[in-house]
Symmetry: C2
Subunit: 390 residues, 2 copies
């Protein structure tokens, strides 16, 4: 399946949760499959921290350009684009296409950089609904997302009840725990204390806070993988280079089991994390990272209702599919069960699947037969069935 | 109880596991209580990352100078200095008194800094035994430590079997998991990529990598506290400053529930972590931090025995008390049970207590009635009893 990125310009100002106003903005998006004449088969996919509107398919003449959820969305896949019209949209504040810190600020003619406003899950959902308006889609068959994307799916369900019939909320949480916020804050501190950050105005200095971004990504990465999975994949294995002791600048010692006694990466997990961190620091924008983590920290639908999540969900009319993964310690099954409980308290129609998977939080992006069968069955039955009455 | 730090100079060179040799070095230590004429009542306390030889008591004319394990060690306390002669010793490579990166390198007349060699748990134990030699202590009644201190207690038990009758191993692990190493590596990267680190030679530039140390400590701190405890203590509470919106430089917005929409600390957990990180960065040496985390990464007694921990413990003749805490996710009870299983496989005398405590890894430093009663009972019965046959 060949994907083509599109862009839609919005000139009606968007008031954000912070009170700031975006006078105009663009949203990058992609679509897969065809909108049926009744316009009842649209599915919106919301993304998490490190993803974009490029959900599925590949770009023409670009090898290895599969979308981030290509195993889930496509012809014959669990979210079957032979039937559904799937929309991937890039969030405001991103560095992958929609208006964000790297975009030109129309007020100054220069990139926003640190002046790009704070954005929230609510802001994203508001802007996504405007995109639906432009596409002539009155009601989505489903909104779907994992992690931060799941938060957007939840938010759309109660903020725009009549715009969606099904909400699929995967590996998400009703808000961040103190520990979740703590990890985000350490990552932000790593970025903000990098001398190349310049208070977020690094663009003007022709630099980027690469080291801060690398450390931030390494921290994040630890929380995406389960302890067990890390043990299975890396354990205490030494990286090849360590085992061979190739570093000839160091004196060869009668060392224990090939240890290098230096601060070069020597365990496999070290090499892996540094590689992931460095790769990330080459393409991700620091100002985007800061804003996306704050959006995560802020999301808390129950807060306006005295902590009562059921009250937050009360306006929703959609049916829900909630999925969690047993070894996810970032957003554990217990957090998904809080969502399910609130929906049940509201007597909503909710299906819950707790998938036994070893991969931790990352499981929502990976191939897992039971997980994919669950999503496929839900779309084939519940979502398609709802089109008849739409 | 008034404590007085002492220092012992060793001029016999110490060969380290890395192959490097310390031609001379000092160990800072303190003692509490009196060594009995038979010299059978000595207890060695080993410390973890952020501690020293100052285990118990206070320094004369110095308010709030309690030792780091003052709730455990002292007159009438679980490790009762009215009976036992307790020794606290500072590890080589530390920044608190024993020879380390801040000390003068006799070869150059300048501080070691980055040239201080890598040290291991084995090196520490070797140097501690030399201190015992100087103090005329042939055999310890007990060696005791929590976390990294527990690793030293284990190591002494099999490396110098005839030098100790009891090993008390608290909140420890037989080696670091991939996830443990990952957290250490991220902390090291935060320090080493701080431009003020200068490859470890920051002394010569009259600076210290404060930001890196701060981030490193913040990461570490998250792993010391249980998720639940963090939730109970901080949850999603906003810091006072946030709630009052005192930051008058920012425009007041019709914000949700007092959110500031800035990157200043706003949740309590953020303020807490930054405070802890900044405090740490003012007194801890970066080169010490790097070495202590590597000593943790390297400790793996089973490695030389094809992964068989029982074989590593085989030479030990001590009796063991192993203690873990239910909510410790840094070194979980499962890791302590690995130690216990290996000891049982060896038919050693081992007592195991899994203490129900909400505080996570930090529990080993905190007051907990059951924990303290367990240690007290063990010393009052098993340890004292062993003196008769010593």
């Amino acid at each position: 399946m060949i994907a083509s990125p599109l862009k839609m310009l919005f000139t009606e100002p968007l008031k954000l949760a912070s009170g700031a106003v975006l006078s105009e903005y663009s949203l990058a998006f992609e679509t897969y499959g065809n909108l049926n004449p009744q316009k009842t088969n649209a599915v919106l996919i919301c993304h998490a921290l490190n993803a974009s509107h490029h959900v599925a398919g590949v770009y023409e003449d670009q090898a290895k350009s599969e979308g981030w959820w290509d195993n889930m969305v496509g012809p014959g896949k669990p979210v079957d684009t032979d039937h559904f019209f799937v929309i991937g949209v890039n969030n405001l504040g991103s560095c992958f296409g929609s208006t964000g810190p790297l975009s030109t600020n129309p007020a100054t003619g220069k990139p926003y950089g640190a002046d790009f406003p704070m954005v929230t899950v609510e802001d994203w959902v508001d802007s996504h609904v405007r995109l639906l308006d432009q596409l002539g889609i009155r009601q989505l068959a489903a909104v779907m997302g994992g992690s931060l994307g799941g938060m957007q799916a939840m938010c759309l369900s109660y903020r725009y009840p009549d715009r969606v019939r099904h909400a699929i909320v995967i590996a998400a949480a009703p808000n961040l725990s103190a520990q979740n916020i703590a990890f985000n804050e350490v990552a932000r501190q790593a970025i903000m204390t990098d001398p190349d950050f310049y208070g977020g105005h690094f663009e003007t200095k022709n630099t980027v806070p690469k080291n801060g971004l690398m450390v931030a990504r390494m921290i994040g990465h630890i929380t995406y993988i389960s302890d067990d999975q890390m043990e299975t994949k890396f354990g205490r294995g030494l990286s090849e280079k360590s085992e061979k002791s190739e570093d000839s600048s160091k004196p060869q010692t009668e060392s224990v089991a090939g240890l290098k006694f230096s601060f070069e990466p020597e365990f496999q997990i070290e090499s892996y994390l540094r590689y992931q961190g460095e790769k990330f620091s080459r393409y991700y924008d620091a100002n985007t990272y800061l804003r996306v983590t704050k959006a995560l920290d802020y999301f808390d639908p129950a807060a306006e209702h005295g902590g009562d999540l059921a009250k937050a969900f009360a306006p929703a009319t959609a049916q829900f599919l909630v999925i969690s993964f047993t070894t996810d310690w970032r957003f554990s099954p217990a957090r998904s069960r809080e969502i399910v409980k609130a929906l049940l308290d509201d007597k909503k129609d909710v299906t819950y699947a707790e998938i036994d998977a070893p991969h931790g939080h990352d499981a929502f992006l990976l191939d897992n037969a039971l997980y994919h069968r669950t999503v496929r069955a839900y779309f084939e039955h519940a979502v398609i069935a709802s089109e008849a009455t739409a």
